[in-house]
Amino acid sequence: MTILLILVSAIFVNNIVLSQFLGICPFLGVSKQVNTAVGMSLAVTFVMALSTCVTWLLQYYVLMPLNMVYMQTVTFILVIAGLVQMVEIILKKISPALYQSLGIFLPLITTNCAVLGVALMVVQKQFTFGGEAKMLNLGESVVFAIASAIGFGLAITLFAAIREQLETSNVPKPFKGIPIALITAGIMALAFMGFSGMV
């Protein structure tokens, strides 16, 4: 039940892009075509789940016992950067085909603030799934990370589909490019607000 609540909440209600403002750079940058948008979201899902798992363990079994929570930001970002490198190397070795399609997105993910954002969120914030406020355990954190990534994927894919259509429409000159994309995103965010209060 909790898992279902986490999924609905992270994908629709508190969508990481449209209501938390994380991962806006790839949201605006890699959303010109649906194909690349899907590729990007798959890569993000993978890295986000993996890094959240590792950083959660680090937080509770290394940083907190050693009383070194102040090293949180430094260690988390290093873990993410390292993981991204590792995934890139492994992917290149075992599945060149997958590397071909996801490879170009991997370096961009290190500076995707959604990845670090989710890793920090699960160890800093109380969550309110099912009426009670509490910190997430390891399993729930990973589910939350995957759900957030799906939310990211949903938003960026829908957005890319709209932007493909925008290409052919007649947009006033000052609005061309980013401004009209932002306004489109604003209208999408309005639509996503309809989900609020569901969980």
Partner: protein
């Protein structure tokens, strides 16, 4: 004729600029929000009021200037292959220092900005300036570049925050301007996208040479 002028301007910029010009450049010509379109997450996420936007901008300014200074000083001693991880460690150290200081001395602002303070680490502006400017320029120039870009960022965030606060809650820096509520949607998520999109279009309209 115009082209030649443009070209001359460009080479002059690349040769050497006075520190004050470096600062000015970051505010208008290379404005990180409206021209370079970098650091969008804090731009949208923290501008619910003018003060919040200003606080976020200033925190970024401090980190950016300090990391620019340190990186320009030590860049020579860092092998190319570990360049990026080294920069990230330096930047995240400064971010953590700011984070601890804010927690101690500005606790309420820290609570409002929340997650976006540690996320300065992955703000593309900071790493971007380290990579594009600080690692090949002098300490003084890098400091000015950081100040300029940081000021540009702070001003943009303040303007966005001001507009959202004015329309959304009917207040100006927390002072109520009229009785009753504002148009709530502007302080909520969609308002952030809409205001930034409209402002960017306006900026394009104003700066584009006809």
């Amino acid at each position: 004729m115009q082209r030649a002028q443009q070209l001359r301007r460009r080479t002059a910029k690349e040769d050497r600029m006075k520190p004050i010009d470096l600062i000015k450049k970051g505010i208008i010509k290379d404005n990180p929000t409206f021209v370079l379109v970098l650091g969008m997450c804090p731009t949208l996420g923290t501008t619910t009021s003018a003060l919040n936007g200003m606080g976020m901008g200033l925190a970024t300014l401090v980190v950016l200037t300090l990391s620019n200074i340190v990186i320009s000083a030590v860049a020579r001693f860092i092998p190319d292959k570990v360049r990026i991880p080294s920069y990230i460690v330096i930047i995240s150290a400064f971010v953590t220092i700011i984070q601890l200081l804010m927690q101690a001395y500005l606790p309420s602002l820290y609570e409002t900005l929340g997650l976006f303070i540690p996320l300065i680490v992955v703000n593309c502006i900071v790493l971007g300036r380290a990579e594009a400017f600080a690692n090949k320029n002098t300490v003084l120039d890098s400091a000015c570049d950081g100040l300029g870009i940081g000021l540009g960022f702070t001003l943009s965030l303040m303007v966005i925050g001001l507009i959202r606060e004015l329309l959304g809650s009917g207040t100006l820096f927390g002072l109520p301007l009229w009785h009753g509520d504002g148009i709530l949607v502007f302080v909520l998520a969609p308002g952030a996208f809409l205001v930034l999109g409209l402002l960017m279009a306006l900026f394009n309209k104003l700066t584009r040479r006809a």
